[in-house]
């Protein structure tokens, strides 16, 4: 048993953190995250250069990472700086490409950006079976349907699209220029897109795609947990600093017992979130991986909401402003629970095990 990160991962985390400190400080992040293209292509390239994209797959697939702890390392470091780069789509897209035995080289190098187009309109969890249809025509495939809130969809070169066909659910590759992609900013920064597929040419990656999709989604869920841990960790610093320096009624806020205890309750939840994310990273590729990831996402989702709301509340009016970094961190924490199944969704999945007597 050893809770120390490996030397390689520690170095990767450090170099991501250093790069983001330079190229994604608060000012720059605010400027980039809400204006098209909702990320910074130069920063993307810099991260790819550091090996971030390469760390998302294992050596047998051409990368040099790919384990749960690699994914967690990357996303926790990105969360600490609230980095809006569309790495989640890259992670899930690479997972599918690798499972399909497709060429991953350009994506691993970061030269090609991927997005996973899975959710559809209607306001469900985004994890329902697709209504988008795929059919064979002229020796190739054609897709019809609409994909919704595709994270990083606006800046992706290639979309990995889930679609129903005659004999199941397949995963398809679509060149961005072949689809109608309407990008927009998200409320917590970063970009997403609505994607309309109208007789859209596609390449079939995996005809029977459920297992590959599940694997990609589990990786994404783990990534979001790790990102949330990184965000909370950063907010912990902001909050402690604020309580120590801000005065009210002539004394620092850190002297008010109610605020002290509430901060401690938050810290306890952060440590719990950290632990359960480790557990999910460890279990990711084992049989119990699905349930472990759901346990993590359920716990982290709730911890993140508590952190978000308390961070704003304890900052008072300041925490309500766009100007204050804490408000953007707080938004991200809540919105993470809107991605890839919220805490209720995951608790339900955790609870399924109780049924089998």
């Amino acid at each position: 048993m050893d809770f120390q990160p490996s030397e390689t991962r520690r170095m990767l985390a450090d170099s991501i953190t250093r790069t983001l400190a330079k190229q994604c400080d608060y000012e720059r992040r605010r400027a980039v995250a809400y204006e098209e293209p909702f990320h910074d292509p130069a920063l993307w390239d810099a991260l790819a250069e550091l090996g971030v994209t390469g760390a998302l797959l294992g050596e047998d697939k051409g990368g040099f990472g790919g384990e749960g702890f690699d994914i967690a390392t990357v996303f926790e470091a990105m969360g600490g700086a609230l980095c809006p780069e569309p790495m989640l789509g890259q992670l899930m897209g690479l997972s599918v490409l690798a499972d399909a035995g497709a060429d991953c080289e350009a994506a691993l190098a970061g030269e090609e950006r991927l997005a996973l187009a899975m959710g559809e309109p209607g306001g469900g969890s985004g994890l329902e079976p697709p209504e988008t249809r795929a059919r064979q025509a002229d020796g190739g495939w054609r897709l019809d349907g609409r994909k919704s809130v595709v994270w990083g969809g606006g800046s992706a070169h290639r979309l990995i699209v889930s679609a129903a066909h005659e004999s199941g659910m397949g995963l398809f590759s679509v060149r961005a220029e072949d689809a109608a992609v309407a990008p927009y900013a998200m409320i917590d920064g970063g970009g997403a897109a609505e994607v309309s597929l109208d007789d859209c040419p596609a390449e079939c990656l995996i005809a029977d795609g459920q297992a590959a999709l599940d694997r990609a989604v589990a990786r994404g869920q783990l990534a979001l947990c790790a990102e949330a841990v990184g965000v909370m960790d950063h907010v912990q610093g902001l909050l402690a600093e604020y309580l120590r320096t801000r005065k009210q009624f002539g004394v620092p806020l850190s002297k008010f017992q109610v605020l002290r205890h509430r901060l401690i309750d938050l810290c306890v939840e952060l440590e719990q979130a950290r632990s359960i994310t480790l557990k999910a990273a460890d279990a990711l590729d084992r049989a119990e991986g699905t349930r472990a990831v759901s346990m993590a996402k359920a716990l982290v989702g709730q911890a993140a909401r508590q952190w978000s709301e308390e961070a704003i509340q304890l900052h008072g009016g300041i925490g309500m402003t766009w100007e204050a970094p804490v408000s953007h961190y707080a938004k991200r924490l809540v919105m993470i629970d809107h991605q890839l199944g919220d805490s209720l969704w995951h608790l339900e999945r955790v609870a399924e095990a109780y049924k089998a007597a």
Binding site: E120, G123, G124, R246, M320, T321, K331, D337, H338, E348
Partner: protein, 396 residues
């Protein structure tokens, strides 16, 4: 013991309901229902309609152009307005300054300002909070120094809601450094056209422009603009805060939000069945509905007590704590219901004419959730309200 409204109250409710059905512009109600921000013109139009009917200042005595309603009637009016998604009355002139002038203003001030509030000639905003003061209002540092017939004001106010629409501001200023901090404060009216005033927007967490900072540099204000006596401002400030807290529980708003949530949960599907049939989601809805129904009665009980006693006591603090918890929980469920579709920045889809991925009239769910985090902070944070209640129950 009788929990039903009196026949007179019922008739009053019917009258309000009928009038609203006939007079509330449908476009306006639609915007309110969708959680869109209303522009200045909309709000002024709504004020004008109400004023024409004599209902704009429900709580003012009739001699000043008000409706002279008692607290229960005002509660009914709010409930009915919320039910049909009427805009909220802008409170700064009607519910804050008006009552202050009626209680503390001189004849000239009453005669001049009160009709202008009702007519829409003046749009007031509030100059109470200061940066760095937070909940500690008495620590304010904006100074007003007497210079002949004028006060010269220097300093800074913040969290000035809808100041961008206003032509006047009422301020708490420090007129003396002697004695206890509370004793050197005065209440003064300022024309925003006066040289030396600058108003800057503060963008809020969800991206909206709702509050402002106001900077004062050698702003000369006629001494006659003082309300009450010099250094009597703290008494006025507390009186105003009390009035600000009318219907602080926001029961009507929560009912409106809960109704929307209920509809949304029936419309949206999760894993193939309506969200309203997801046991966990439905349970959280049920929980907040129970709390809201209880709050409605808690509010009415406290209104009746206040009416009987002629003083709200500590009730507003209790109503604020629970009332904001309820609204925030409803907001939380509404944004949660939307799943990933809560994420798009609301204005962007509209601007780009992109069809919203979920029921469009709920597209601002996350926006409202974040914006309404303010409820437990502004106007005396819930922590301050607990302190007020604790002081009453346990002493210092």
């Amino acid at each position: 013991m009788d929990l039903s409204f009196s026949e007179a109250d019922q008739r009053f409710r019917d009258e309000i309901r009928t009038w609203l059905a006939e007079n509330l512009p449908a476009e306006m109600a639609k915007k309110v229902a969708a959680g869109d921000e209303l522009g200045k013109a909309d709000l002024e139009h709504w004020h004008a309609l109400l004023n024409e009917k004599g209902w704009l200042a429900g709580g003012w005595p009739t001699e000043f152009g008000g409706a002279g309603w008692n607290p229960v009637q005002r509660y009914i009016f709010e409930e009915e307005c919320c039910r049909v998604h009427a805009p909220r009355i802008v409170p700064f002139g009607i519910n804050m300054l008006g009552p202050v002038l009626i209680a503390f203003g001189n004849q000239q001030q009453k005669d001049y300002y009160l009709p202008r509030i009702l007519n829409g000639d003046d749009w007031w905003c509030q100059g109470y909070s200061e940066p760095g003061a937070g909940s500690d209002l008495a620590s304010l540092r904006t100074k007003a120094e007497r210079d002949g017939d004028h006060y010269v004001i220097n300093g800074q106010k913040t969290w000035t809601t809808l100041g961008q629409h206003a032509n006047r501001i009422f301020c708490l200023v420090r007129t003396s450094a002697e004695g206890k901090r509370q004793e050197g404060i005065s209440f003064i009216l300022v024309d925003l056209d006066t040289p030396g005033i600058e108003m800057r927007p503060i963008r809020l967490i969800e991206g909206g422009h709702e509050v402002n900072e106001v900077f004062f540099s050698d702003v000369r204000v006629p001494a006659e603009n003082l309300v009450g006596e010099e250094n009597q401002g703290w008494t006025i400030a507390k009186y105003l805060l009390e009035h600000e807290r009318t219907n602080i529980a926001g029961v009507g708003y929560s009912q409106e939000a809960f109704g929307k949530l209920r509809g949304l949960a029936q419309k949206l599907k999760r894993d193939g069945k309506p969200l309203a049939e997801n046991a966990m989601f439905a349970t959280r809805m049920a929980n907040v509905e129970c709390a809201l129904e209880a709050m409605r009665l808690t509010n009415l009980r406290m209104l009746m007590e206040a009416q009987a006693r002629g003083d709200a006591g500590s009730a507003p603090s209790m109503l604020k704590i629970k009332g904001t918890q309820i609204r925030q929980e409803i907001n939380d469920l509404a944004r949660r219901a939307m799943g990933p579709a809560a994420a798009p920045f609301p204005s962007e889809l509209v601007a780009a004419n992109i069809p919203h991925p979920a029921p469009a009239d709920h597209s601002r769910s996350a926006h409202s959730y974040f914006n309404n985090r303010k409820l437990s902070i502004f106007g005396g944070s819930n922590e301050i309200q607990r302190e007020i209640l604790a002081k009453q129950m346990l002493g210092g």
